[in-house]
């Protein structure tokens, strides 16, 4: 999709700039924005290194099983089909923990593993089960304790207090997750 949209965006911008006579502005912007990408990447290198390293430590300690215990009642409540399947529950928990810690890249393979296990139990292989739908919704809600990437972006732009947004992010992400789950549960009840 980007193979079409990307060049079109740039061509339209140049045409618009030529018509309105601010080609110079766009010329400067091209270099200014590539530099912005470099600055952001350098800052992200720092924050992502730090965070990935820390989470790697966390996943080697008992902290993981403590979070797992806290999550267990929630997982039981949300995933009703696979109630007695310990393997699926564990895979779902690991996926949620990776999400909480802000490890998008680690969360996806774990989530896909859970999807595969649930698909084995699925009677209609073409259709999502209720639990599969719930897992996808939880993954699109992106609940995380520390929003590392955004903090990195704020740092690269010289924010006075990059972590200032943490509470607001918790608030919004929880609102989003609750609405997502309520809508999901309602749709399941209505047999959609």
């Amino acid at each position: 999709m980007l193979n079409v949209i990307w060049p079109i965006f740039i061509i339209i911008s140049y045409m618009y700039a030529i018509i309105n006579g601010n080609v110079e502005k766009i010329n400067n912007a091209v270099f200014e924005y590539t530099e912005m990408a470099v600055n952001l990447t350098i800052t992200l290198l720092g924050t992502m290194c730090l965070w990935n390293g820390l989470v790697e430590i966390a996943s080697n300690t008992k902290l993981i099983s403590i979070i797992n215990k806290i999550l267990n009642p929630i997982v039981n409540f949300l995933f009703t089909n696979s109630k007695n399947n310990k393997k699926i529950h564990k895979e779902i928990s690991m996926n949620l923990i990776a999400n909480l810690l802000g490890l998008g890249n680690a969360a996806t393979p774990l989530g896909l593993k859970a999807m595969k296990s649930m698909q084995e139990q699925n009677e209609n292989k073409e259709r999502l089960t209720d639990d599969m739908a719930t897992l996808i919704i939880l993954n699109t809600a992106s609940i995380q304790i520390i929003p590392t990437t955004v903090i990195g972006i704020r740092m690269s732009l010289g924010s006075l207090q990059p972590t200032k947004i943490i509470f607001a992010v918790w608030f919004s992400t929880i609102c989003a997750a609750i609405v997502g789950i309520v809508v999901t549960k309602m749709c399941i009840k209505l047999k959609l």
Binding site: Y16, N22, L45, K62, N105, I136, T149, S172, G180, C187
Partner: protein, 179 residues
């Protein structure tokens, strides 16, 4: 309100402290493990760098040529009655579709209006509390060859919109009580 500010400040150091404390108590090779994880972090960031450059270029062109302002002006009348700042609209549209694209747009908006301004804070909160919904749904369903996705797109977009509105509302409340 001071409490909320305090929670935001303490969250990162408290998490780091807890992790390191557990590592020490369980006598793990904390530093070696840290380096291993940090290595993965480098790989991840390097991997997305070319994409970021490409998309920053496109967003930079759209933004500086005036195309973006033109689109914002078109939809402004609808937004004014919902009290959503029109400036955040480009992000709201792009967020569910493209991860790197929304990073580029968010950075552009934050730079334009100030990273610590009200709009800058709202944009950052939207970025932190939503996901690249369409991509996530596509990856999860196609991994097990499922075609009937039922209500998932609807529910996920409902969650996304809630996250965006909540981000705007929370900063309206917080900024009022700070001042």
């Amino acid at each position: 309100m001071r409490m909320i500010n305090y929670i935001s400040i303490i969250a990162v150091p408290a998490t780091i402290f807890l992790i390191l404390l557990y590592g020490l108590i369980e006598k793990k090779a904390v530093f070696d493990i840290f380096i291993k994880g940090a290595n993965d972090g480098v790989k991840m960031v390097i991997k997305i760098f070319p994409t970021l450059v490409g998309l920053f270029l496109a967003i930079g062109a759209l933004s500086s040529s005036g195309v973006l302002d033109f689109i914002i002006n078109l939809i402004k009348p609808i937004l004014i009655c919902t009290k959503i700042p029109p400036e955040i609209m480009p992000l709201a549209i792009l967020r569910p579709i493209s991860g790197s694209g929304s990073i580029a747009v968010a950075t552009d908006i934050m730079k334009k209006y100030g990273v610590d301004s009200l709009i800058g804070l709202m944009v950052a909160t939207i970025m932190g509390s939503t996901e690249t919904t369409l991509y996530t749904i596509a990856v999860y369903t196609s991994s097990v060859n499922i075609k009937k996705t039922r209500f998932v797109l609807f529910a996920a977009l409902a969650a996304d919109i809630t996250g965006m509105i909540a981000s705007v509302v929370i900063w309206r409340i917080l900024s009022k009580s700070f001042s």
